[in-house]
Symmetry: C2
Subunit: 244 residues, 2 copies
């Protein structure tokens, strides 16, 4: 079972593997591991010790194999990370059929946020390209479905869904980074900034800090998320009204 597929030469191996495009010749000995097993081990390590601890050696130890055995299932570490990311997103929840597009997308955005909060390390994986793995496609499907009744063009639907998922990802990234630092650490940041930022050179930032917008109110809570989410959805609503 070689990981590279001869018939699909220019596809990243991780994608081919994830979609199950593999010849199973069954010549040699039965594989003792399975790809989901390895990916799950990666998830466990990432969850317990962070993404930085996810090395091939560490994952191999987790499944009880030698380091190099993993390379029989995964062409490179980046592929494993891609697969871990897809597994972390998981399958999107089923769409309740009785919602309008706005309610559906709101729920969809919340579901993404929950997935990212459950697996914060996903945000540390550098973006390697457009979403192409099965679960990511499933989330995309689910988002596009919400826009089915709006009459938008297909390319517009796609842009809207990408815009929204980008917002969630971006917001989660910031919120988790601040949350991971801890409230006292964040407070120290704020006081330091307050001392360092020149009110003459940065009057608007100073005003925001003086109004407590930067730190005091910023609990990383859901209110801020809803605010941005509503802004984006309002923008989409304006578009649907313009094109009935």
């Amino acid at each position: 079972m070689e990981v590279v597929n001869i018939e699909e030469p220019n596809i990243p191996a991780s994608i081919a593997v994830a979609w199950g495009l593999r010849d199973r010749p069954g010549k040699g000995p039965r594989p003792g591991l399975s790809l989901p097993q390895i990916v799950q081990a990666g998830l466990d390590v990432a969850r317990a010790e962070g993404l930085a601890a996810v090395s091939m050696a560490r994952v191999a130890k987790e499944v009880g194999v030698s380091t190099m055995a993993l390379y029989r299932y995964v062409a490179a570490k980046d592929d494993l990370l891609d697969l871990m990311q897809d597994a972390a997103y998981g399958q999107p929840p089923e769409a309740p059929a009785d919602k309008d597009w706005r309610g559906g997308l709101t729920e969809w955005a919340w579901a993404i946020l929950h997935a990212l909060r459950k697996h914060p390390w996903v945000l540390q994986i550098p973006v390697s390209g457009p979403p192409l793995l099965p679960n990511q496609i499933a989330w995309l499907e689910r988002g596009l479905t919400c826009l089915g009744s709006t009459g938008l063009a297909e390319s517009q639907k796609l842009s809207v869904v990408m815009l929204l998922s980008g917002y969630v990802r971006q917001w989660a990234s910031l919120s988790i980074a601040v949350g991971a630092a801890g409230p006292d650490q964040a407070a120290r940041y704020a006081t330091t900034l307050a001392r360092v930022i020149d009110p003459v050179r940065f009057p608007a930032v100073s005003a925001a800090m003086a109004a407590g917008a930067v730190d005091d109110e910023w609990d990383g809570g859901d209110a801020e998320f809803v605010f941005g989410l509503d802004r984006v959805l309002d923008g989409i609503a304006a578009l649907t009204h313009a094109r009935p």
Copy 2:
């Protein structure tokens, strides 16, 4: 010149350094290097060979010093990356005073996009926290200033600016990733996806692909960027109308 500052124990060293909070005791020999010089060398390497090539050894060779000499100026590689990121953003362009908030923010978003296109490797640096370095604060200042006349609350202004900058960053990330793959590679992706995606399981995605939304039209051009940007700005406009 030790990099850690004793009086500010809990501040990341990179921030203290970037803001010039350093004691200059002037006891030992004059430093032969300067921090901007090192950061510039990092930029050069990243520009020419990508972020992955930016190692301490490579940067040191670039400035003509030994590897360990860099650690007299930077506490860790992450600090260097933070400083490189701030240098890549550079100073925001001056705000033309005769623009309304929407025009101002539009121009601001475009300026960010241009900076990111000029330094695509910035998008590969994992987000370590809220923007705290001088140039990033300057961009924040510039964005907040655009909203000065809207009467929004300070916390709302901040959320809006973060929302917008997040969108730009997200979009640039996707667009650059697709662009870096090259058009032929992207076309191969699309054909592979078309074969792999089950129209029964993913009808909406299939419809989008059939309509050519995924690949044919997606040139990563400016039209897609403007579309999402206008959505976000429409959402903000709705807010300002609701609160005059």
